[in-house]
């Protein structure tokens, strides 16, 4: 996977994981 693709995908992945964390009652991922 090239760096541009990683840079484009990381925010989308993290946003998704934060949404799911929030649904599970957890803190935002970037808070740790």
């Amino acid at each position: 996977m090239d760096r541009d693709k990683i840079a484009a995908l990381v925010p989308l992945v993290r946003d998704t994981e934060e949404r799911i964390s929030h649904m599970l009652g957890g803190p935002a991922a970037h808070a740790t």
């Binding site: 996977m1 990683i6 995908l9 990381v10 989308l12 992945v13 993290r14 998704t16 994981e17 949404r19 799911i20 964390s21 649904m23 599970l24 009652g25 957890g26 803190p27 991922a29 970037h30 740790t32």
Partner: protein
Amino acid sequence: MRNDGPPRGPYLLGSLRKGLKVLDRFAHRQSWSLAALSAELGQSKPTVFRILRTLEEFGYLTKDAATGRDVPGLRLLGLAGAAVRHEQLRWQALAPLQDLARKTGETVHVGVLHGTEAVCVQAVEDTRLARMHAFVGERTPAHASALGKMLLAHRTEAELQALYEGRDLPRFTPRTISILPALEAALRRIREQGYALDEEEMEIGLGCIGAPIFDHAGRAHG
């Protein structure tokens, strides 16, 4: 014989452990001949034969009429259903994963750590012909996947030692992390940057990005 970290402990039943290791192989490949399974596990054919017959008797395995090989039986369906029903993450994750798959055109999945393996509990595959496959129940060695490394990165040093001390880190490609100190260094980087990458560490040509899902206790759950 594979080294995928069998549980160790003083109270384990040897015969049950052998039986479960046989059953476990069916999560990785759907059908097995006696000879192939015996070779895979490093167990004698008579031993594996008796285990297969027992599992068939109780409906956990059945014979494929066309090939004569053993395949998973319907009894497993009930167990699998019970295992995933209690996993809240599986259902909470579905809609966000579908959104992510739509936006990226990539296969996306979430999973949990079970021993030294990452277990997929929900997956949405992209629709291209040449795509990464992911399915519920799929297990991958945690040290060689983005999901697994992400989860390991949020375990304590003592937990990591308990998981890996004295165990090999199997190498799947030249890029697989295969020694514990290197894995620990990689996990520190992952904690700092907030996401994990698998750059052809499990399979050449495959890459993956993993980010943590935290539960109500603040623990990286998936």
